[in-house]
């Protein structure tokens, strides 16, 4: 075996010497990668260097003036930052990490991005192709590991493959139902020279992959017929509306038909909150009327949403009286959960444009008033209690005050748990792409990296991360990234010294048995200061307004810790696996 390796090594040297003179004018695989990123209009990369990706980082050194690289503190941070960047800007997020642990640390964001339909291109270093399968240093089978959680993956083993594969990668990531693409880039493919001139052709069509953008006319007609006959129609819209940039079309459709509408959690901010037809959002901790009215409507028009179990509760009981129109770009979502009478496979924007001339002007004043009546009940039972202003500060008060101070126009990045639900309830979203959350996967630790990612994607917007004390400690190291990059990211910790949502469940469904949910927290402000980020703690209600002003007025990154009520519960709540009619208000 030893002899064989020697022979191979000799041959390699020999061939390089022989061919180098005629090859030296061509780009290396790593340089080609940089050119591909430029050709795709990439401006920002989130990454972390390491052994197997070093040739690419070396090439990046010559592109610093054109590609803004943000050095994170952990690869998970790179992934979530790229997600935040993409969600707010609509562009594809790009991550650059090394092999082995670099790649495996990226798995959580990849899994998060596939379930929340976020376009990412993750370039992961890999050992030399001759070492593949030998348990080489930092070798992990990234294709094997990422296959179940990504939209597409490919291992590049030759520099000549780079332009074609990257064009394909960007097209797949951002077209149809967007998602993460993983490019496993072997070290020899990075370091080796191409054998031909670099030529980049953007891809907008693939033989095997052809998402339907424009729906079939007969599907549109059937949907229009169902909608036109409805007496109590109800629109549920989701993230698909934001992804398809169909906010204007949705607004026009709603205004023409006068149909009441509600949002899913990730659809938040697709519709201005003060619109008279907007009834709020639904789901496990969603609002009372939007949840309950799914049991009352006769035609349910689902747009760019997928009947997630956090929306439906017990799906067999969800809207079972309703005839369903489902507008969705991914055909595998049709009838995955709910029997659908009028499926429309296509992009939400195109579908709404085609539906517009076929639907008639409506007046559903009476039907809309039924929602409003239920709203009053929720206001009485939940909102007034949350905003009463007695005892310790409540999460709701912080969010409501922040909403007022920012006029509902900030981009809010939340983590996962009670604070996430409270923010969805009390922030008055008036601008699209303003609620950035890990919805499908529920990834704690999402918000710090996603906040600075969002700030990169929308530098002119006020970006505020609202984060729980548990979540904050999952990616706390990314404060270093924020400090180093000088981004004016504002962060609020709603600190209740508990893993609040788990504690709430333990209280309600596990007989008050608080199993490992209490946290002994560090001094967050001292930690932030250690990273070079200013901040302060607010413990008193009378200081809250000034504290938020200080946070918002800072022209640098700032951390505000608010000590909130320890054992506060989030209502309304549809207990898991039950029907929405069993929604609890207290």
């Amino acid at each position: 075996m030893g002899n064989l390796l020697e022979v191979e090594a000799k041959q390699e040297t020999f061939s390089i010497n022989l061919e180098q003179p005629q090859k030296k004018d061509f780009l290396s695989g790593a340089q080609a990668m940089m050119e591909c990123l430029l050709a795709e209009g990439v401006e920002t990369i989130f990454g972390y260097p390491g052994g197997a990706i070093m040739p690419t980082y070396d090439a990046l050194y010559d592109y610093i003036d054109r590609l803004n690289h943000i050095l994170v503190r952990h690869e998970q941070g790179a992934g979530h930052a790229a997600q935040g960047y993409s969600r707010v800007s609509g562009k594809t997020g790009v991550c650059l990490v090394t092999s082995g642990p670099g790649g495996t640390n990226l798995i959580t964001p990849i899994a998060d991005a596939i379930i929340d339909c976020t376009p990412l291109v993750c370039i992961v270093g890999q050992v030399k192709s001759t070492l593949l399968g030998t348990d080489a240093f930092q070798e992990t089978d990234m294709i094997g590991v990422t296959t179940p959680v990504c939209k597409w993956n490919y291992q590049i083993t030759s520099p000549d493959e780079v332009p074609e594969i990257m064009a394909k990668a960007f097209y797949i990531a951002q077209s149809g139902k967007p998602g993460p693409v993983v490019i496993d880039f072997t070290r020899d493919a990075q370091a080796g020279k191409m054998t031909e001139k670099f030529d980049y052709k953007k891809v907008n069509k693939l033989v095997t992959y052809r998402p339907r953008i424009v729906p079939k006319q007969e599907q549109i007609e059937k949907a229009a017929e169902l909608i036109s006959k409805a007496k109590r129609p109800y629109i549920l819209f989701g993230h698909g509306v934001l992804i398809a940039d169909a906010m204007q079309e949705l607004l026009e459709f709603v205004e023409k038909t006068d149909i009441p509408c509600a949002s899913t959690l990730l659809g938040l901010s697709a519709m201005p909150i003060d619109h008279p037809n907007y009834m709020g959002w639904l789901g496990m901790h969603g609002m009372y009327a939007p949840n309950v009215m799914t049991d009352q409507c006769d035609v349910l028009i689902a747009i760019g949403m997928r009947f997630d179990d956090r929306v439906t509760g017990d799906s067999t009981k969800f809207a079972k009286q309703a005839r369903i129109v489902h507008i969705e770009i991914d055909p595998s979502e049709i009838e995955k959960i709910k029997k659908t009478e009028a499926p429309v496979v296509g992009d939400a924007k195109e579908a709404l444009k085609m539906l517009m001339p076929l639907v008639k002007k409506g007046d559903f004043t009476g039907w809309k008033n039924e929602f409003r009546k239920l709203d009053a009940r929720e206001h009485q039972k939940v909102t007034l209690r949350d905003l009463k202003g007695e005892g310790k500060i409540k999460m709701a008060e912080v969010v409501a005050m922040l909403s007022d101070k920012t006029n509902g126009e900030a981009c809010i990045v939340v983590d996962v748990g009670q604070h996430q639900m409270v923010t969805a309830r009390y922030y008055q979203f008036r601008k699209p792409h303003s609620y950035i959350a890990s919805g499908g996967l529920g990834t704690m630790g999402f918000a710090i990296p996603a906040s600075f990612g969002a700030k990169m994607g929308a530098p002119d917007r006020e970006v505020v991360g609202i984060i729980g004390d548990g979540c904050f400690q999952m990616t706390i190291q990314e404060l270093g990234t924020i400090a180093q990059s000088g981004l004016a990211v504002k962060m609020i910790i709603l600190n209740n010294n508990y893993l609040g949502m788990v504690r709430q469940w333990q209280q309600l469904f596990f007989d008050n048995r608080y199993s490992f949910v209490e946290l002994k927290n560090p001094d967050f402000i001292t930690i932030a200061k250690g990273f070079g980020i200013e901040g302060h703690t607010c413990d008193e209600r009378e200081n809250l307004s000034d504290s938020l002003d200080k946070l918002l007025k800072s022209d640098k990154a700032y951390l505000l810790e608010v000590l909130v009520e320890k054992e506060e519960n989030v209502f309304p709540m549809v207990p898991a696996g039950t029907s929405v009619s069993e929604i609890r208000l207290e």
């Binding site: 296959t147 939209k151 095997t208 055909p331 049709i334 995955k336």
Partner: protein, 179 residues
């Protein structure tokens, strides 16, 4: 439980088998048999996957999930009555000098099986047919002593007058033929 045969056309590339089979794994569906090979069109593979399931709608969902894999061209799901299908099996049968003589005529005429190799004290018999026909032959030949037995996965074609390849995207027509 109903038997379903799923035919999948894909690009012939590394890792595709894994990308297809994990869709079954995630939904806890066992694969009864699996046959993969390149079709008459270069670069296109055809999978024939046999599963048993008691809910048709779950199989339909499975088919749509397979279709979602980027490298997949088309997926077709069939019930047994919709297809013509077969498998191939090889039997290595002991034939010692003092043993019972194998009845080649019966094997040929009744069981439609053929001796494809004569060893010194064994023969190899090839039998094509459905699972049932192969197991019927298995029972018949067992008393002779089966040294080794192997059965392939199912291959199947639909009973429609068209070939499945006609349903594939038009661009495929330009792809090079093998012959």
């Amino acid at each position: 439980m109903t038997t379903y045969t799923i035919c999948v056309f894909t690009e012939n590339s590394i890792g595709l088998l894994n990308k297809i089979t994990i869709i079954f794994t995630r939904r806890r569906i066992n694969i009864e048999s699996l046959t993969v090979s390149e079709t008459e069109r270069k670069g296109i593979s055809r999978f024939t996957i046999v599963i048993k399931h008691d809910k048709r709608e779950e199989v339909e969902k499975l088919v749509r999930q397979i279709r979602k894999v980027v490298e997949v061209l088309a997926v077709f799901g069939y019930l047994n009555e919709d297809i013509v299908y077969n498998e191939i099996a090889l039997f290595k049968i002991s034939t010692p000098i003092e043993g019972k003589v194998i009845d080649v005529e019966n094997i040929n005429k009744v069981h439609k099986a053929w001796v494809v190799y004569w060893g010194l004290d064994y023969v190899v018999i090839e039998k094509t047919g459905t699972e049932r026909e192969i197991f019927d032959f298995f029972k018949y030949i067992k008393p002779h002593g089966i040294i080794e037995f192997v059965r392939s996965g199912r291959v199947a074609v639909g009973k429609t007058p068209q070939g499945l390849i006609e349903y594939l995207p038009e661009e495929i027509a330009e792809w090079e033929y093998y012959l």
